[in-house]
């Protein structure tokens, strides 16, 4: 069966520091992968999606970037974090019928 992992689970970073969040999927090949952010009191915001290795589409202009170095690995990065980057970051993969399966999430607090 398919499994999706995210790490770290929680992260506290100072403003201006870099960021790297990792997501890996097991048990499926060539999945569509997604990064979402969920800020307090707000809905899920799609940040990036990827349909294959090296193929990244950005939905929202910001200081975040994403990369997909391997088929089942999706990385979210930033060179300099802002206070507004705080939130709950979720990685997801898509099954054939467009259902999305989410990872456990990373709680990021920028101070």
């Amino acid at each position: 069966s398919q499994t999706i992992h995210q790490w770290p689970a929680t992260l506290v970073q100072p403003v201006g520091s870099p960021l790297s969040l990792e997501c890996t999927v097991e048990g499926t090949s060539n999945p569509n992968l997604y990064w979402y952010r969920q800020a307090a009191g707000r809905g899920l915001q799609l940040l990036f999606y990827s349909v294959g290795i090296g193929q990244i589409s950005s939905e929202v202009p910001q200081n975040l970037s994403a990369s997909r170095p391997q088929d089942r690995q999706f990385i979210l990065s930033s060179k300099k974090l802002l206070l507004s980057d705080s939130g709950f970051y979720l990685c997801a993969w898509r099954e054939m019928i467009d259902t999305q399966y989410f990872g456990p999430g990373t709680r990021l607090t920028v101070l």
Partner: protein
């Protein structure tokens, strides 16, 4: 642009009653609609998908309706239990081959014993 609204941020009901959550959308004709459950500090979990040609779908104590004329979906939990307390999200496809979804902000359901 497409807009999706879950017009109740929170819903409090008594155990044993039926919870009814609403999802409305505009500027849109989706081929299907999905419902997810999210517990605090966890990722959303897929519950049900209903297609545009289906009026109603059931899964155990869950029932979803889809009215494409009203542009509305209703999500019912019958015989609700405290363990049903969570935030419920509806989601619609944005179209295209990428399978991207747009999510509502969710309704937080609290079932009191």
């Amino acid at each position: 642009s497409q807009k999706i609204e879950q017009n109740s941020e929170a819903l409090n009901i008594q155990e044993g009653k039926t919870a009814t959550l609403t999802c409305n959308y505009t500027n849109y004709s989706p081929a299907y609609l999905q419902w997810y459950r999210q517990d605090p500090g966890r990722g959303p979990v897929f519950l049900l998908l209903i297609r545009e040609n289906e009026k109603e779908k059931r899964k155990e104590r869950l029932k979803v309706t889809f009215d494409t004329t009203l542009k509305q979906s209703l999500f019912h939990i019958t015989a609700s239990q405290p363990a049903d307390s969570a935030t419920y999200l509806c989601a619609l496809p944005l179209g295209g081959s990428q399978g991207n979804l747009i999510f509502g902000k969710g309704t937080k359901l609290s079932v009191k014993p």
